[in-house]
């Protein structure tokens, strides 16, 4: 462990396929201790497969990986002692109450709720009023908070969270990420996957994963800074027409809907031409503004490449 001090997770040339489908393809990366590392990618990108390999639930076809110096194949028993895992699907006992679930997971990891109460206090306090309620009857956000409590009740060294915020409302999502930041402060390495690109900016570093390949690994700031072209937001009176017109325009590089606006990158960097094009297509109330890209724009650009 001393040899790779500061490195919590190290993955080398990891591959796994199901039949003809290559789920993850030759992945290599390193994650530092107490880092909050995000995997961002669409459904089917290979996030869950990767996490299952890291949690020793699946064997890779080739390549190697280690957590805290333990090999995921050889030392799977040791790894199972030190990780906290929250699968993508809600996986607690629906017929057990909040408290019973927590107690059960504390027991099977050889600890007690009281023993590690400090660690989960901030989160648990929010669901404690419902502690006698069956877990199946909690709201989506509550469920995820309970699942997080259960995953870290034994003070894991590495916390692996597979899409913890999917299906959770915006407010709860924000709270959830605040909790993760706090946990990170206490020295726990956290890897988290999400299909929501806006959550990427909350991580220390993110990896964009698509089709089993990591497209890019960097800090959110760097990823935004690497945006190498001008970005415009466009709005007119008929957004639906605008969408198809922009896609047909020969100068359009990429165009996608973003909230109430279309985000657009173009070939020849001259927005005046755009305005006249839109006028020729009978658009009114045309708004065109150059903006600084955010993380989502950066990802859209990376994924388009």
């Amino acid at each position: 462990m001393n040899s790779n001090k500061g490195i919590s997770i190290s993955v080398k040339n990891l591959s796994k396929s199901y039949g003809n489908i290559q789920a993850i393809n030759n992945l290599s990366f390193e994650i530092g201790k107490a880092e909050l590392f995000g995997f961002i990618g669409p459904d089917g990108a290979g996030k869950t497969t990767l996490f299952r390999i890291l949690t020793t639930l699946l064997l890779p076809d080739s390549g190697s990986a280690s957590l805290c110096g333990f090999d995921i194949v050889k030392d799977y028993k040791k790894i199972r002692q030190i990780i906290g895992y929250m699968p993508g699907k809600f996986s607690l006992y629906q017929d057990l109450s909040v408290e019973e679930n927590l107690k059960f997971f504390a027991t099977i990891f050889g600890t007690t709720i009281e023993g590690n109460y400090d660690l989960i206090k901030d989160i648990y306090i929010q669901i404690e009023p419902f502690k006698t309620r069956p877990a199946g009857k909690l709201s989506g956000g509550m469920k995820q908070k309970l699942a997080l409590c259960c995953a870290m009740i034994h003070k894991p060294e590495v916390l692996i969270l597979d899409e913890p915020t999917t299906g959770v409302d915006a407010v709860s999502r924000k709270e959830f990420w605040e909790m993760l930041r706090k946990l990170k402060e206490s020295g726990i390495t956290i890897i988290v996957s999400t299909p929501y690109m806006d959550e990427a900016s909350l991580c220390d570093r993110v990896a964009l994963i698509q089709g089993g390949n990591i497209m890019k690994t960097d800090t959110p700031e760097n990823i935004i800074n690497q945006f190498d072209t001008a970005l415009y937001e466009v709005k007119t009176n008929t957004m639906f027409q605008l969408m198809s017109d922009l896609k047909e325009w020969e100068n359009t590089e990429s165009a996608y809907l973003f909230g109430q606006y279309m985000h657009l990158t173009i070939n020849n960097k001259d927005s005046n031409e755009l305005e006249s094009y839109l006028q020729s297509k009978m658009h009114k109330d045309i708004e065109i503004k150059q903006i600084t890209p955010n993380i989502e724009d950066a990802f859209m650009r990376l994924m388009g490449k």
Binding site: R52, T55, T56, L57, L58, L59, Y76, K77, R80, Q81, I83, Y85, P87, K89, F90, S91, L92, Y93, Q94, D95, L96, E100, K103, F104, F105, T107, I108, F109, G110, C150
Partner: protein, 368 residues
């Protein structure tokens, strides 16, 4: 050990919270044993008959009275013509028609011979042969009584005694059978379902990624069902004894021990099923078809193994319930000790160990 205890407690929560299943678990033995005991009976009671008496004399009257007072038959109609027989059967109220020939008493007197024809509805062959044999027995008895005063040149008199079940109660057959079927069903199906449920709900993923050992998960799953199955066995035995007077001639302790062995066998079979299935549905289907049907059909519970074609007889040897039924019938009805059933016990024990080893080996420590 603490982990294991926590796991078992959790299993009990699952079982007791699911009260619909609980009702089925404890209601099923009750209903089954009552149905088997009362409704499905191979004894003849109040079977409807019709009589076509062409003679109407003192002797035919006497025979008729004897038949009707036996309790086995109920007179549905007195016929006067052969033509009425067929429509009568078609109506379905009667199982048998008894026909006395003309001048019955007179013929008996002069020719020393008179005929009774018995026509039975053999659409249900077992009942038909039972009814006709009851009828001829009663007639034979009457004949013997008549000849008491006369000396026959020679006579063979078979005296039949039905050992172990003198009244030929069918419940004596059904109680051991029901215990077997229910223990098999509950133990194997419930464990396989409860393990596949963890797979289906995704909780198995967390359990596997935790420090719990496979053996702790398996044994933790089994322990609660050992208790429940054992309680059900006791309920059936008590019901059999109180409601139907089913005796336990042999050692109760031995009987319970054998039940426990069989439960363990069925549980390990359930675990084995769960290791090869992914969903609760398939686990249930396999338990139903692969276990229930052979248990009912091939174990000797309803159909005697000796009457089966040879391949099925050979096949029945690998069906654990066959051995268990032999064991408990011997203990309950014949009152034998372990000395007489050690071979069957050993076979069950061997099967249990085989299934346990196989299921622990097959239990996956990973997801795929």
């Amino acid at each position: 050990m603490k982990r294991f205890k926590g796991f078992v407690i959790k299993e009990f929560y699952h079982i007791f919270r699911d009260y619909r299943t609980m009702v089925i678990l404890f209601g099923m033995p009750l209903v089954q044993i009552l149905i088997f005991g009362f409704a499905i009976s191979t004894e003849i009671n109040n079977a409807g008959i019709a009589i076509l008496d062409n003679s109407k004399d003192a002797v035919t009257q006497k025979i008729t009275n004897k038949l009707l007072s036996s309790g086995y038959f109920k007179l549905e109609a007195n016929l006067s013509d052969y033509k009425e027989i067929e429509p009568m059967f078609r109506k379905g109220n009667i199982k048998e028609v008894i026909i006395f020939e003309n001048n019955f008493a007179k013929k008996l007197e002069t020719e020393k011979k008179a005929n009774i024809q018995i026509i039975a509805d053999a659409s249900d062959p077992n009942t038909a042969s039972l009814i006709t044999s009851y009828t001829s027995n009663i007639i034979n008895n009457y004949q013997l009584e008549m000849m008491k005063n006369q000396q026959l040149p020679m006579q063979i008199n078979p005296e039949v005694k039905m050992l172990y079940n003198e009244e030929l109660k069918s419940v004596f057959m059904f109680v051991p059978g029901t215990i077997t079927v229910l223990l098999m069903l509950i133990s194997a199906m419930m464990t396989s379902i409860s393990i596949t449920r963890e797979k289906e709900l995704g909780t198995m993923e967390i359990l596997l990624a935790s420090p719990l050992k496979p053996i702790q998960i398996i044994v933790g799953k089994v322990v609660p069902y050992v208790f429940i199955s054992f309680m059900i066995a006791v309920i059936i035995l008590i019901l059999g004894f109180t409601v139907f007077g089913m005796p336990v001639q042999g050692s109760l302790f031995l009987l319970m021990g054998e039940c426990l062995l069989f439960i363990l066998m069925a549980l390990s079979l359930g675990i084995l099923i769960s290791t090869v299935t992914q969903t609760q549905q398939t686990a249930m289907m396999i338990s139903m078809f692969a276990l229930m049907l052979p248990t009912i059909l091939l174990s000797g519970f309803i159909f005697p193994i000796e009457n089966m074609p040879l391949p099925l007889q050979v096949f029945s040897n690998v069906i654990p319930p066959k051995w268990f039924i032999i064991i408990i019938k011997n203990i309950m009805l014949k009152g034998v000790g372990l000395g007489y059933i050690w071979k069957e016990t050993l076979i069950l024990l061997g099967m249990t160990l085989f299934f346990i080893v196989l299921s622990v080996k097959k239990f996956k420590i990973r997801l795929s």
